[in-house]
Symmetry: C2
Subunit: 287 residues, 2 copies
């Protein structure tokens, strides 16, 4: 069996399955403190003969195999998990190869293998929720270098009618500071789910996301863009992105028809856990 963990800030999804993406058992475990959460995680997997483990994790994390902190969750505001060596914990418990990457890179891998980008060697997975993150597959490889990307914090140009100052503690009005769920709530005074009929909310959201997609497309040139997270449940966001993206790009690059190019996850909520299964599969191959 391959073991997969989607390690999130509120819950861990654990699953066992195989390299075809088939999941045979799964469990959700609340993210409390490592001693509690990881004990439950290990207990779940101990029911199976685990050949390798894949972890797609919230971050920031250290994915540089030459670094002494490789396999750690690093400077997270969730203090109990700061500097937590999650890879080492799983290796000690199971003695098998462990693949480790960000939750969004795992989701991109899941979508490229089994989902909306199935069969493509390149895609971008963006999630817009409590924060904004993105992962990508480039020529079949997970996008990483010095570290993992932090695409949610790119700079955007403010909409001329938007006076919201932005709430990113680092950058104020970067993409995440202007367009993540908490920014929507702060700006409009209601949670996103309560604003679903307010066209102007999603039009503005699309304005910022279209700018981000322009930057991502010019820099990465992905073959498919998958937009997940809570905000992607608002279909008006896609309409607004389709409207603004051509205004920004001005036909400088030619993109496929936008409604088939920028899409919802093909795997629904399972992009991340399916990708973690593939991280396990790759870890086994590379061993």
């Amino acid at each position: 069996m391959l073991a997969a963990i989607e390690a999130g800030g509120t819950k861990f999804v654990c699953a066992v399955g195989d390299e075809t993406g088939r999941i045979v058992d799964r469990i959700k475990i609340p993210t409390t403190i490592p001693e509690e959460t990881m004990t439950e995680v290990i207990k779940f997997f101990k029911k199976y003969t685990v050949k390798s483990i894949g972890i797609g994790s919230f971050g920031p994390i250290d994915i540089n195999e030459d670094s002494p902190a490789y396999g750690h969750i690093t400077s997270t505001p969730k203090l109990a998990w700061k500097d937590y060596p999650i890879v080492e914990t799983m290796k000690k418990a199971f003695g098998v190869p462990v693949g480790f990457n960000t939750d969004v890179n795992a989701a991109a891998l899941g979508e490229a293998t089994f989902g909306a980008a199935k069969g493509l060697d390149s895609c971008l997975y963006i999630t817009v929720g409590t924060g904004i993150g993105a992962g990508a597959i480039v020529q079949g490889q997970l996008l990483q270098g010095l570290s993992h990307p932090e695409m949610g914090h790119i700079l955007v140009r403010r909409h001329p009618n938007d006076s919201y100052e932005g709430n990113c503690p680092y950058h104020g009005d970067c993409l995440e500071g202007m367009a993540a769920g908490p920014a929507i709530e702060n700006r409009w005074g209601l949670k996103g789910a309560e604003l679903s009929e307010r066209e102007e909310v999603w039009d503005l959201e699309g304005y910022y996301l279209a700018q981000a997609i322009m930057q991502y497309s010019l820099i990465l040139s992905p073959k498919k863009i998958i937009l997940g997270g809570g905000v992607s449940n608002q279909k008006q966001v896609f309409e607004a992105i389709h409207k603004y993206l051509p205004e920004f790009i001005q036909n400088y690059i030619s993109l496929p028809e936008l409604s088939s190019y920028i899409v919802k996850p093909g795997l629904g909520d399972d992009s991340g856990i399916s990708g973690a299964l593939m991280l396990a599969s790759r870890a086994l191959e590379n061993n």
Copy 2:
């Protein structure tokens, strides 16, 4: 022998050499019309027994091997070269494998193999001259997907004291429209080379390039950034980038010491031709 072509808008550099980067002969040929230029190119290489050919080309080009226009220079404003099938021309003349990519991706490959990023599996090569372009190596692979990146046209935020409108025919005040050589000349009324003592020129240039580097770093996380092209000869540009980049990033990601992270090309003017040699070497391997 491996054959390498750096196809530029004003000249073609052709070289023969080997996979260690050694160049044994080279020639420069003016870029006029394909019938003239390519005749000279072929004549040069016919002196040797060519095993494979690598081409790093000005663009836009079609590098999608599934496309009917693969191997063409596509919508260039140099009309004689529009839709020119450069790969097919070389294949017909020599009957050997041909590797084909952008000039900047080739330069990134050259720097990652023999230059400032030697030994690294990831780097970003930016050139700032008549235009702005960038290429990258990600996990040892050339960065490409739907097409090649067009990083020079990302959006930047205008400096509050800069009233120059920008001269990109597509986007006005995108990065290239604000910071390429012609924008510098338009804004200040003199060519860059004549402005070398004007601190404010290079400070503003660094402001825009630092923003671009922030976006590239957050999206690609390269292990090394190489800044080439005419503008990189102004050392004040590096100083300004070192000043502004931390202001933009605000310690959100940790970067290496900037003077060793953002550097001039290790190969001087040979990044592109050396990379084209490696494109030839890879084409031979993949055959």
